[in-house]
Symmetry: C2
Subunit: 141 residues, 2 copies
DNA sequence: TCTCCTATGTCAGTATCCTTACAACCAGTG
DNA sequence: CACTGGTTGTAAGGATACTGACATAGGAGA
């Protein structure tokens, strides 16, 4: 028993859950969910990535990712060829509309994140980010 | 914008997702999910709490909580009277078996949390907890 | 007392995600 | 060449959580 205080794990869950909720609220006017945003966000960082790799980055299964991608394709935010150049992996790309939607979403998400960090001194923000990264490394991420 | 570095929000999601996964793995031998554990954990902190209040503490809906409670009642880990003393709120309580299961689960969960924090200097652990709490406050938790 | 208002429990339907399973494709090794 | 292992895409089914809606019980205020 190391703690009388609420555990770090509980605080982590609480913060993540609340952040997710606020992001969902912020993105609602755009008709995007947090999952959709995460998908588009990653797609900009790694254009042409396969759906399976995208799923790993966003912590969902390939199956869930394919459902999400199909929704995004139907809305013309994402494009995928129907045939692979080599192998089975189909490259996934942002469309122009997808890039615009991501730009709009990014503004809203950045606002939520800034609100979340508004209670911390600037130095503590980087300390928080480093602490979280250390946790991820320790858990074998 | 503010970031060439991955955002704090992303690190938060990554850490929470990985912690959840490791907890799920650790609790599997006991036949408990993380949701079950969270429920039992809160029930020890606030014995006799109503299901609706318990749901708010654990970030799920009343409906989901009632499903979970029914599972825990079927396994004799939790007990609820069928009639309320006053009003509609039914007090929820840990059984002796529930307390034992929670004890066993707590050991495993503490192990995971210690592993997560093993990469941080001791002082940084409390700083991390305080930073997360500040985030929760800023988001209106 | 009567009337809102809120909170709780519950039911039905929906949505989302996961688990399991299988086929296609590439790379490495015997 | 044949075989094994790993990765990708896809489909079917189940588990879990959420939204919407309703009846009930108690408290606050006119």
């Amino acid at each position: 028993m190391s703690n009388n205080v609420p555990s770090v794990g509980y605080a982590l869950k609480q913060a993540q859950s609340l952040l997710h909720l606020r992001m969902e609220e912020a993105l609602k006017p755009l008709g995007l969910t947090v999952s959709h945003y995460s998908c588009l966000y990653r797609l900009r960082l790694e254009p042409g990535i396969s759906a399976a790799a995208l799923a790993r980055r966003t912590f969902v299964t390939r199956q869930s990712m394919n459902v999400m991608l199909q929704q995004l394709i139907d809305r013309d935010l994402v494009a995928r060829p129907t045939q692979a150049d080599s192998g089975r992996a189909l490259p996934t790309l942002l469309t122009a509309a997808g890039a615009s939607a991501l730009d709009a979403a990014q503004v809203l998400v950045d606002g939520v994140e800034q609100r979340m960090l508004s209670g911390l001194p600037p130095g503590d923000t980087t300390a928080l980010a480093r602490g979280l990264s250390a946790c991820v490394s320790a858990l074998g991420g």
